[in-house]
């Protein structure tokens, strides 16, 4: 009896045990919250007819965005043939799988009839961008499951108990380039059309612009790569289970810095174009972002610390080569992308465009997420952290010592062409 207690105590009061304990508490309260939502309905949220999409949609949009490292890095490794970066693609794939699981949880909470979610795959309105997003996310999640199989196959217990299954799962890695093609195609479609979901809404002029799809695609690539690198570096610092090759990470971070310059360029023109002429609804919405209640988010979180500062930190050699500065920059980019998604979603609702004739005045509404939205939303994030932690500990998700020989991967014609250039 005493020895059992002793082993429990020894296991609980380790950093890993405490970490699991914290996540467990958050997950348990989220479970209670989730049951309450399904039982009582969406009336217990602070969503209204005027603000029908709130915090959960932000979590959904953000998890899909920061999961995008899976498709961009897999494309770089398996299609362009930069095989050196394969260990990073492995991390990105696992984060991608986790992120899309989180997005689906958020959606399940958010829709009014969760028991009918399957209808979205059966009944098609091909005209709807949300249909396209649903289909692509569904198919891409299948691709991610196949891509993550070889990673799960490295679970020691599985290898010992079911060696044949593990072997089969590992074999899927032979199809990595094919899966990367599908992943690239499906992700390019839905990451951008997720922005178009907002961009085609003519009734809300602040959204109604073609840049929305480009900005969503762009921020997804940035946020996805940033989170993959950040999570790898953080894991390597916290546990001996994770091993990173800092040279690889630094190279990708440099590319990310240059991508950030391109992003700043886009945001600048997108911002400037909206300052010209008055349009009811758009101008008011834009002022909410630049001068109103969202201005801190917009200028400080999105622009200053979400784009400008990390760009400098990643482009400048000395800061990029200092792991702490680099991690800070990556964290800022992730926060900036999340803030961009939150602001974009909410700003379209807060300025209510009038439809009455002769009433040019735009009215304002407000939205603060309710406790239940925070608790369940926190649970979704805790799930993501738990999945990644378990992945690092048992599946060697962050392990840059894994070389491509181990899986005998496929060489790609395209990649060779690029390298020969």
């Amino acid at each position: 009896m005493k020895t059992i207690l002793k082993t429990i105590r020894e296991n609980i009061f380790t950093p890993w045990g405490i970490w699991l304990g914290i996540l467990g508490v958050v997950l348990l309260s989220a479970l209670v919250g989730g049951i309450l939502v399904f039982w009582k309905g969406l009336v217990i949220t602070n969503l209204t007819d005027l603000v029908p999409w709130g915090l959960w949609i932000t979590i959904d949009l953000s998890s899909i965005a920061v999961a995008a490292g899976a498709f961009s890095l897999c494309a770089v490794v398996y299609l362009l043939g930069f095989k050196r970066y394969e260990p990073i693609a492995r991390t990105a794939t696992f984060i991608g799988f986790t992120g899309y699981s989180m997005a689906m949880m958020a959606l399940l909470l958010d829709i009014g009839r969760p028991e009918r979610f399957w209808k979205s795959f059966v009944f098609w309105n091909t005209h709807s961008l949300l249909w396209e997003v649903t289909m692509c996310v569904g198919l891409y999640f299948t691709v991610l499951v196949l891509e993550v199989m070889p990673i799960v196959a490295s679970f020691e217990w599985l290898r010992k108990k079911f060696p044949r299954i593990a072997e089969k799962m590992e074999h899927l890695h032979h199809y990595a380039p094919v899966l990367a093609i599908f992943g690239l195609g499906l992700s390019s479609l839905h990451q951008s059309s997720l922005g178009a979901v907002y961009g085609v809404i003519k009734a809300r002029p602040i959204w109604y612009r073609p840049e929305m799809s480009v900005l969503f695609m762009f921020t997804a690539i940035l946020g996805g790569i940033a989170l993959t690198l950040l999570a790898s570096m953080l894991a390597a610092r916290l546990t001996s289970k994770a091993k990173v090759n800092d040279v690889l990470i630094e190279r990708v971070a440099q590319v990310l810095g240059y991508l950030m310059i391109a992003y700043l360029y886009w945001r600048f023109w997108d911002w400037l174009a909206q300052t010209y002429t008055y349009e009811p609804g758009r101008t008011e919405g834009f002022e909410l972002l630049t001068k109103g209640p969202l201005s801190f988010n917009f200028w400080i979180v999105e622009m200053l610390f979400g784009a400008l500062v990390p760009t400098i930190l990643l482009v400048k050699r000395s800061t990029r080569q200092t792991p702490l500065w680099r991690m800070l920059a990556l964290a800022m980019i992730v926060a900036g992308v999340v803030a961009f998604r939150f602001d974009t979603n909410i700003v379209g609702f807060l300025a209510v465009v009038p439809y009455l004739p002769g009433e040019a005045m735009v009215q304002y509404t407000s939205y603060t997420p309710s406790l239940i939205e925070w608790v369940t939303g926190g649970g979704i994030i805790a799930f993501g952290l738990l999945a990644f932690s378990v992945g690092v500990k048992y599946l060697r998700v962050v392990d840059h010592r894994i070389t491509s020989e181990e899986h005998e991967t496929v060489s790609v014609g395209v990649g060779e062409a690029v390298r020969n250039m």
Binding site: I111, G112, L356, G413, V414
Partner: protein
């Protein structure tokens, strides 16, 4: 090293086929959508603002006939400025747009057009994503945030329900009382002329501010009044082509009664 089966050319070919299929289905869909609005009848509602006194009876009758939760509205009556010192009202049902944003964006096709132009909701198909509410330019949709379980205070004083109550988790909206139109026409009645075949709010308006009829029939009451008097529709610049027309209050046509 295995031989790779996909190269760049194959990828481009595959993408081209995919895009062609997507474009094809879209075109078919668009053709179908524009044909849907050109049925035998095209029901429209004309609301004479010079007659509307803002009493709100239309809304009460609507609540009773369609069994609507008292904290939701299908045809809100709004104040819309003043003319000659008198308040002007604007009742706002669903506009039954010809190019309805809600129909275009619904991922499962739960919002759809009837042949006579009415924008319908299939409450069994709806998953409750609320994209239609986001897209509607007229705030015409109300969401069932909770189940409507209690009694309906508008019943029986203002009428009896003749449609099913909507479940929790779906948005609902005005349907031009399609059930009255369909039942009336099957009995040989004419919507807009015979009360039993006409939307409840039109029948119940004490000042006769609402007029209903077939725009495809050049001799119908709505066709005639839209020829004779100036009218406007809400947010026309969006190109939704609403089927609810308003006759404005002008300086020399003061509110009667």
């Amino acid at each position: 090293m295995t031989e790779n089966k996909f190269n760049r050319r194959d990828f481009i070919k595959l993408s081209a086929v995919g895009l062609a299929v997507a474009a094809g289905t879209r075109m078919i869909k668009e053709v179908a959508a524009s044909e849907g609005a050109k049925g035998e009848h095209q029901w429209v509602m004309v609301i004479d603002q010079s007659k509307c006194t803002g009493c709100g009876q239309c809304n009460l009758i609507c609540h009773a006939n369609n069994d609507i939760n008292p904290n939701m509205d299908w045809t809100k009556v709004l104040e819309a400025g003043e003319v000659n010192g008198q308040l002007v009202y604007l009742p706002r049902p669903c506009m039954q747009c010809e190019h309805a944003p809600c129909v275009e964006v619904c991922p499962v096709g739960a919002s759809y057009y009837r042949d006579d132009g009415i924008v319908m909701m299939d409450y069994d198909k709806c998953i409750g994503c609320r994209y239609c509410m986001v897209a509607c330019p007229y705030d015409a949709r109300a969401f069932n945030w909770e189940a409507f379980t209690g009694g309906n205070p508008a019943v029986p004083e203002w009428g009896e329900p003749d449609v099913e109550r909507r479940p929790r988790g779906v948005p609902e909206k005005c349907s031009f009382c399609y059930q009255r139109i369909d039942r009336g026409m099957s009995l040989g009645l004419e919507p807009g002329v015979d009360a039993a075949a006409t939307p409840a709010c039109v029948v119940g308006c004490p000042t006769g501010a609402r007029i209903f009829g077939d725009l495809n029939d050049p001799n119908s009451n709505v066709s005639q009044i839209l020829r004779d008097r100036p009218s406007y529709r809400l947010r026309e610049s969006l190109g939704t082509n609403p089927r609810v027309y308003y006759l404005p209050v002008t300086e020399n046509r003061v509110v009667e009664g």
